[in-house]
């Protein structure tokens, strides 16, 4: 009888311990319902992998440039005046990668030459495209965007492609400008082309790894 109790009690303890052990989880990553990381060569990355050069917006069918802090042409600190080669103001922004100062066309040209994420077609986003990136962020003084997929977003204005906008108030004397969007204040405003603002580029072209895999829903 005592032997049976001994065996049964030891077995119970072992089973309980094993059950508890199997309950113990390790941290696991999980994919965002909308965004995915893409490496500079166009290959998809897992949510915890990095560095990544582009963020795929599965909902909008767009590929976004990811800003960095590595002093490359994609550094998030660089600012640009709005210029498309015909309209706007060239070379009124600040960056290190141009002999002259910088404008939006410089970044568009360089990024397309580079074939960032193995695609071309990089351009300024429309104001609607920029605003579609809104995501509530409850942490203090943070951009209202998925910062884990869009790092280095500054508290400043980001250029859109929507131009020839009539300027008012203080800027009225400059005539026309382009729409810009602030991810912190979630505000849109028209700025003179000559203003230095931040830029995040976008393209409809998607890396072959994503289109072949049929991940995109639209």
């Amino acid at each position: 009888m005592k032997t049976a109790r001994l065996i049964y009690s030891i077995l119970t303890i072992l089973v309980f311990t094993a059950w508890c052990y199997w309950q113990l989880e390790t941290p696991v990553d999980f994919a965002d319902y909308r965004f995915a990381k893409i490496a500079s060569n166009g290959e998809p990355l897992n949510p915890w992998q990095g560095p990544w050069a582009c963020t795929l917006d599965k909902e909008q069918g767009l590929l976004w440039e990811v800003k960095t802090d590595d002093e490359s042409i994609h550094d998030g600190y660089w600012t640009y005046s709005w210029y498309d080669g015909q309209q706007g103001q060239d070379n009124f922004g600040d960056c290190y990668f141009e002999d002259n100062r910088c404008d939006t066309l410089d970044l568009v040209i360089r990024t397309n030459q580079q074939a960032l994420c193995n695609v071309r077609g990089w351009r300024l986003p429309t104001s609607a495209e920029l605003q579609s990136l809104y995501r509530l962020n409850t942490l203090p003084q943070q951009a209202q965007i998925a910062t884990q997929y869009f790092p280095q977003i500054k508290n400043g204005d980001y250029w859109s492609s929507d131009h020839h906008q009539a300027l008012t108030g203080h800027y009225q004397r400059f005539g026309h400008g382009a729409k810009a969007f602030n991810f912190f204040s979630q505000s849109e405003l028209n700025l003179p082309y000559r203003n230095a603002a931040f830029v995040i580029l976008v393209t409809e072209q998607l890396p072959s790894s994503r289109t072949e895999a049929g991940v995109l829903s639209r």
Binding site: K2, R5, T17, C20, E25, P27, F30, A31, P140, Q142
Partner: protein, 517 residues
Amino acid sequence: MKFARCCFVAIHLVATAALLISLFTGLRIRAVLDDFWRNYSYLLPQGEVISIHLLSGMLLSLAAFCYLIYTRLKQQDKKRTTTRLKHKYHHLVIRLGHWVLITAIISGWLIWLQAPVINKLASILHYLMALAVIAYLFSHSYFHFIDSGVGGLKRVFVPGKGLKPLFFIIVFSLPALAWLSHAFIAQNQYQTLLVDDLNPDTHIDIDGIANEGIWQQAHQISVLTHGGANFDNGQTRIWAQAVQNEQEIYFALRWQDANESLSHLPLKKTEQGWKVKQQGFHHFDETEHYEDKFAVMLSNSCDYGADGTAHLGHQPLKDKPVNWHQKGYHASLDNQVRDLWHWKAVRTNGMLLADDNFIGKPISHKPGVRRYTAGYQADGKESGAYVMNWLWYKPDIIVPKRLPQDNNKLALFNQNALLPWFESTPYHKTTDRYPVGTELPSVLYRSNRFEGDRANVRAKGIWKDGYWHLELARKLDTGSQKDVVIDSGVCIWFSAFDRSQVAHTRHVRAIQLVFAS
């Protein structure tokens, strides 16, 4: 006879429950600093266990007191008592068990009292007694069970017929009394730090040197903190003074730390490329290649367990992710903000700041974020930053952001554990001619110091002769929703970090600030 038996069974039941709760919650607390017990994390309770441990300790103390009275009465009644232990073995084990329990209870109270001289010994003793309790449970309880089966358990846990009301009175009144005593003591348990008045015309330099006259007069307290990595026996004593001038409060702090640790996750060049020197950083629990740090928490309430913000275990918060190091999270489940000043010997000391953080409600877990920190978050900032000198952290090979312009200054940079932005250039593989074995600081001050809410705490620390000396200053009311307004009655907690990322020291009881005027 029946009466004595009933008392014994009731006290035995309460003491057993209190002992088991104390043991398991105590081992969970121990697991924060002890790898061995973290291996058994899945067997230990999780959450806000510190308060439960203290409550069960109170219950065990009361049960022990009742048992003492019971044995005294029983001795007087010995001639009429026929109860005998069947085996000498049990007699010996129970005798030893009593001493173990008494020692565990006394050492627990000594830790709670933060008794200056004996506290170091008390914490060692308390842990040893916990191990002895495990041995006791096997040699006494388990042996009894094997020997007598469920019937044997019934005899010591179920009262006989006729005296059940008395049994239930004891069984329910003891926990109730313990809870009341615990609540009463919790309301009156604070150490106090008298905050002396400072003449508004008197200037205090935040330079880490408390040589202003006011510091010679200001009241000082000391608190022995325990449970930190790398400190001697995990413990360090912290001395604190505070003064205020109705606008700002100033702290002069000092703590024992045998070495000044500035080397913060340095980079080392290997045959394959640059690598981060780390031992636990990949799991966010580095204890070798890390800077010294110090933390001050402030709150309008003063409860145990860092005012109820310490949630221990691998997954202590329901619906929140498992944590990497299985130690736990800080979070305010009552939605009150606790202020947290985090001074870092490399990353913020050069900015003459402490990182102004807070503990709020646990945030939601976001995809793509590998480290979840629950309620521990940084205040907002307008600008300024320190950055790590790698494009993306990996445990094997990383790519640095910058390399020093002048090789000859590398020794100086390593000594300061800081790579100046304007004395370095962006990394290019083609221009990286540093030999294998070269070490490089990993901390870069990218631009200006923090500005905005995150820069509300001025700080400067200096290490000298085995002690860190730290001065802190902050406005009494910053106007920030993420800061606690400092006034008489606010409670504070101190934690020191000896080259560790999260393994900090702690103290059980809060320190309440009492303004002299």
